[in-house]
């Protein structure tokens, strides 16, 4: 009951093998049993969830079922959901009940999907290990001493531990893909602008994108059909024609389904800093892709190393602006004692934000301040264009780009918590795609020392369907994506 694909759940519901209430209750029971140790979920509301499941059963009975109707999903706690506590992993919003639904939540509701609960995350999406959450860390279901990755750590653990059918996440510098790699499942960050950010608590507005986290590329494609689409309420939402992301999955069969596909391997992604065990798994996956008919092309993305400093100027700068709304006036944490307005501001913010968030706000404030804007923010924006141009050049020689998602497997909790720069280097392979606005995904490709390793697939703008095909072809001939951690039956 917990390992089926979204398509299988849909068929089971249609054939009345199970009801949405039964399926949902199965996951709620698993959550009750395992969440106390894993800490994947921050907010649960069984009554609301079951009510949605009942409504879904009615929808199915009246013949109006769609692909995701009646299936239970976990929602990252960055999405405002009407009537649900929405905390963004922060003390600042610990008592905030969202008075409206994010677009992403609307989309799931509209098709009758069920909301299992809100998942844990690094505070305000700033982190790569879920260790900055006000609500505590999350255990990697593959090894409870290790982190699940971040910032979508709760959603990641929920997918890996089968505490949901699938989950949503967001990715600003790698926060869907890196946890997907560390926890052994499939995650996709779409082209910037494809999924509306309305109601998605903002971290870095020019980089944030929501996406699916699921057990397979096919599941991600089904979720993209629901999540993607123009929304006039998000001024950065693109008026891109609606697509069926599953449309060519079925073609990925036969001897060499990927004949003619050119896969670019950037030399900078296989250099110093990459763990040898991870490199081996990725190389084996590339060899598998050759068997599927693809051609390998050596490419270069020369400005790869610069993506980290550029990101750690731009993202904190945008965060410092976005988080200036948290002032203790109308919602969020207000200090219990204060003398005057200034005192209320500085104390509310000092108390409400955790250390990493404060660090990034301070960096962002600094790089935007008078006298430094040109040297830092503007310079970073210029290098951002160079990074995007690297990809434009590369896509003249290849159709998709592949490489590792993360430089290592899951690290131990606490190992990098004291060294912000070491933590930031986790994102070295994922960040450039956010800067360029390109789509990227991670798929399970094997294990190193018993821990999952992800293969990253990057595509050109709006090429998600092809990327999903490419991932699906691999998942037809391998079974890494079906593996489930032991000990959480």
């Amino acid at each position: 009951m917990i390992n089926q694909s979204l398509k299988q759940y849909s068929q089971m519901l249609a054939n009345k093998e199970i009801s949405s209430v039964e399926l949902t209750q199965t996951f709620l029971n698993r959550i009750a049993k395992h969440n106390p140790s894993i800490n994947a979920y921050i907010a649960l509301d069984e009554a609301k969830t079951i009510a949605q499941a009942k409504a879904a059963d009615n929808k199915i009975a009246s013949g109006k079922a769609q692909a995701l109707t009646g299936i239970p999903f976990a929602q990252k706690d960055i999405f405002c959901a009407n009537g649900w506590k929405t905390t963004c992993g922060s003390k600042m919003l610990a008592n905030f009940t969202a008075p409206y639904d994010a677009h992403v939540i609307n989309q799931f509701d509209a098709v009758g999907a069920v909301n299992l609960g809100k998942t844990n995350m690094d505070e305000f999406a700033m982190g790569s290990s879920n260790e900055t959450s006000y609500f505590g860390g999350v255990k990697n279901p593959w090894d409870f001493d290790r982190v699940p990755g971040g910032s979508s750590g709760g959603s990641a653990a929920a997918v890996a531990a089968r505490l949901c059918a699938a989950a949503t996440g967001t990715d600003t510098g790698g926060s869907i893909r890196q946890p997907a790699s560390l926890c052994g499942f499939t995650g996709l960050k779409p082209t910037y602008g494809l999924v509306s950010r309305y109601g998605m608590i903002a971290f870095a507005s020019s980089l944030d994108q929501a996406g699916p986290m699921a057990k397979s590329a096919e599941d991600c494609a089904l979720m993209m059909n629901v999540m993607a689409g123009f929304d006039e309420r998000d001024s950065t939402s693109l008026n891109h024609p609606k697509e069926d992301y599953t449309r060519s999955l079925e073609k990925m069969i036969g001897e060499q389904p990927l004949k003619g596909l050119r896969i670019g391997l950037p030399k900078e992604y296989f250099a110093e800093g990459l763990d040898a065990g991870v490199a081996k798994v990725v190389q084996d996956a590339i060899a598998q892709y050759k068997k599927l008919g693809a051609t390998i092309v050596d490419i270069s993305l020369p400005n790869t190393q610069l993506s980290i400093p550029v990101y750690y100027v731009l993202a904190p700068a945008e965060a410092s602006s976005n988080l200036s709304r948290y002032d203790g006036v109308r919602y969020g944490h207000r200090a219990a004692e204060y003398d005057d307005l200034m005192d209320m501001y500085i104390k509310s913010r000092a108390e409400g934000f955790g250390a990493e968030v404060k660090r990034r706000i301070l960096i962002g404030t600094y790089v935007l301040s008078a006298g430094y804007y040109d040297a830092y923010y503007l310079k970073a924006q210029q290098i951002r264009r160079l990074i995007a141009q690297d990809f434009t050049q590369a896509f003249k020689q290849c159709d998709v780009i592949m490489g590792p998602t993360a430089p290592s497997t899951a690290f131990k909790a606490g190992e990098k918590a004291d060294d912000p720069v070491a933590m930031y280097l986790q994102d070295v392979y994922t960040i450039a795609t956010n800067l360029a606005g390109l789509p990227g995904m991670s798929i399970p490709a094997g294990f190193s020392n018993g821990l999952p390793v992800g293969l990253q697939i990057m595509g050109n703008y709006f090429d998600e369907a092809r990327m999903l095909d490419v991932a699906h072809a691999y998942q037809q001939v391998t079974d890494w994506h079906l593996a489930m951690p032991k000990g959480i039956e």
């Binding site: 002032d327 109308r330 919602y331 204060y338 660090r359 951002r384 995007a388």
Partner: protein, 104 residues
Amino acid sequence: MSLNINDIKRIAHLARIQIDDTEAQATLTKLSGILGLIEQMQAVDTKGIVPMSHSQDVVQRLREDVVTKTNQRDIFQQNAPELGNGSNQAAVDGGLYLVPRVVE
């Protein structure tokens, strides 16, 4: 580009975040590390490069200047913080939010 403790205090003031001397010192160390990281940018020649803020060639969409939202003040004010300073009442009164006196 090195910072000192006064820079930290100035930035913290701009960001409206209270920071005491011990925290300022710890922050100085961590921020200096991060600034060392971003110094790598200075080695790159970016003369003539147009700064990039968005990957697609888009312009701000406009809409008709008409009222589309309804007044939901009561719903929103359910999230009002506690007044504090000894009172645990919500910091609202007659539809307004309560803050310390701003105008003398």
